[in-house]
């Protein structure tokens, strides 16, 4: 009888996705979410496991969603016949494939798990429905994602101008 304790009944049960919550809470993408909003948003997320070397999506496939890396690492590559061109190497907390949340176009690159990896997938149909039902939070997240995409576009523009300048410098006739 002495072993009896009310503690398990009185203590708050740990959320089954607590590890996911802890990771998302730290991401800048969700820094405007309060815990309740984040828990609600987590209902959209699919947790997917990939083994080392497994393809997550391929270039030119129809894209449906974006992924946040929970554990492991992902290589974003442009496959070519001679040698794959690596565009990015991403680790826990990074996300990729966000363009698919906005448009129905094909994937612009291939993503491959570089080690055993767990991803949190957010997909367009769920995201659209969520934004319609929770316009305030949905808008905030969309705005945040749009900001990130703008920043990536600016960086790409800068790199493009730099490369163009270098090409012109090496070969003035091409200008």
């Amino acid at each position: 009888m002495n072993d009896f304790s009310w503690a398990p009944w009185l203590s708050r049960r740990k959320h089954p996705n607590q590890d996911l919550f802890d990771l998302l809470e730290k991401l800048p993408l969700f820094d405007t979410f309060n815990p309740k909003e984040l828990h609600k948003f987590m209902q959209l997320i699919y947790r997917r496991q990939y083994t080392s070397g497994e393809t997550i999506f391929k270039e030119r496939e129809p894209g449906v969603g974006m992924y946040i890396i929970l554990t492991g690492a992902v290589r974003i590559i442009l496959p070519s016949e001679s040698e794959d061109i690596q565009l990015a190497y991403l680790g826990p907390g990074h996300f990729f494939g966000e363009l698919a949340l906005f448009s129905e176009g094909p994937r612009s690159a291939t993503a491959v798990a570089d080690e055993d990896t767990e991803l949190a997938g957010i997909y367009r149909p769920d995201f659209i429905e969520y934004s319609q039902q929770n316009p305030l939070i949905g808008n905030r997240l969309l705005f945040h994602l749009a900001n990130i995409i703008c920043e990536k576009l600016r960086r790409t523009n800068r790199e493009y101008r730099l490369i163009k300048y270098q090409v012109q410098k090496q070969n003035p006739a091409a200008a």
């Binding site: 699919y46 030119r60 496939e61 129809p62 449906v64 969603g65 094909p106 997938g121 997909y123 149909p125």
Partner: protein, 347 residues
């Protein structure tokens, strides 16, 4: 999977899987009708449950409230309408031979005048053939009604299976879908998820719209027939609402009995007023209700719909006609997704 099976083995496994699914469906055939009705009810009640959940109620409470509201509405409707409809059906059943005779007399008179004007068609006795066929059809319909009702609404299905299935589909439908999607291998995950959502969006919007539209058309037709003082207004109005579920053919099937009864009942309203009333109901339905209810949920060509309904009726009778359009919508999603995949690969 590609690491363990050759393409031929995968094909064999796919065919075997399909066979097992068909076998399971065949074994489940007795509960398919209540299951389909539960699904339709779930589609109807889901927006209400979602709204209650967004308002802060636990989902299970929302489901109980929505089902309670439905039970109350059905109970009230049944209490007020069922006895009247039942009496009208009994009276119609008793009066039917008289109506058939009157119809035959009218037809024979018309045939005589037609034969006088066009003697070359005298060998065709279309009235007695037509009336006999109609008589057989109506008798079969009246014989079939109890069978149809008992197969659809067996006591067990009504009191046990349908409410329980609807309750769990409303409460856990989302989790069931997620569990299914989680089991899809990584390689096909995005494609399957996209197809599942698009099929769900189309089917839910269509079924929800169809039920709502039929209810409103049935109510408008009944009110119109009551105003015009047509005999058996309730039964004919309900038939018009039900028939409206079959696109293009339904509205005609709903209007014909009403016109026939007014033709045979000289004391009631003139037949052209009944035709005008059904025409107005169709104008309201096509121009106001359908754009509001369906939006662009299916966007199928009318010729495709007609072909689908004809094929559906040949393959599976009434159920085939009802399921033809959603099935066509699902096929359209598959074709569109395949076309998209091919287009992206060729770019």
């Amino acid at each position: 999977m590609s690491r363990y099976f050759t393409p031929f083995q995968k094909l064999i496994l796919g065919v075997a899987g399909l066979g097992v699914m068909l076998l399971i469906l065949y074994l489940m055939r007795s509960i398919l009708t209540p299951l389909a009705l539960s699904l339709a009810l779930t589609f109807m009640l889901n927006p209400l449950v979602n709204a209650l959940e967004r308002a802060g109620l636990p989902r299970v409470v929302g489901v109980i409230l929505a089902l309670g509201l439905l039970a109350a509405l059905l109970g009230l409707g049944g209490y007020f309408l069922f006895p009247k409809a039942y009496l009208q059906i009994l009276s119609l059943r008793a009066d039917l031979p008289v109506y058939m005779d009157t119809l035959k007399q009218h037809g024979l008179q018309a045939q005589k005048s037609l034969h006088r004007s066009f003697p070359w068609i005298q060998q065709i006795n279309f009235v007695s053939q037509g009336v006999d066929a109609l008589h057989m059809l109506v008798i079969r319909l009246f014989q079939d009604i109890p069978t149809i009702i008992s197969s659809v609404f067996s006591i067990l299905a009504i009191f046990l299976l349908m409410p329980i299935t609807t309750f769990f589909l409303l409460k856990d439908g989302h989790q069931i879908k997620r569990a299914f999607l989680q089991s899809v291998p990584n390689r096909y995950f995005e494609r399957v998820l996209n197809v599942v959502y698009r099929v769900e969006y189309q089917t839910v919007a269509y079924v929800r719209g169809l039920l709502l539209e039929s209810l409103l058309v049935g109510a408008m037709s009944t009110i119109g027939l009551l105003i015009l003082d047509v005999k058996y207004a309730l039964v004919i109005g309900m038939l018009a609402g039900f028939a409206n579920m079959v696109p293009y053919l339904g509205p005609v099937v709903g209007a014909v009995p009403a016109v026939l009864f007014t033709l045979m009942d000289p004391s009631g309203s003139p037949w052209w007023l009944v035709v005008l009333m059904f025409y107005i109901v169709q104008i309201i339905d096509n121009n106001l209700l359908q754009p509001l209810i369906y939006g662009r949920s299916l966007n199928l060509h009318p010729i495709m719909i007609m072909f689908a309904i004809i094929l559906g009726s040949q393959w599976a009778g009434l159920w085939g006609m009802l399921l033809a359009v959603p099935t066509l919508g699902i096929l359209k999603v598959f074709v569109q997704e395949l076309a998209k995949e091919l287009r992206y690969r060729l770019v």
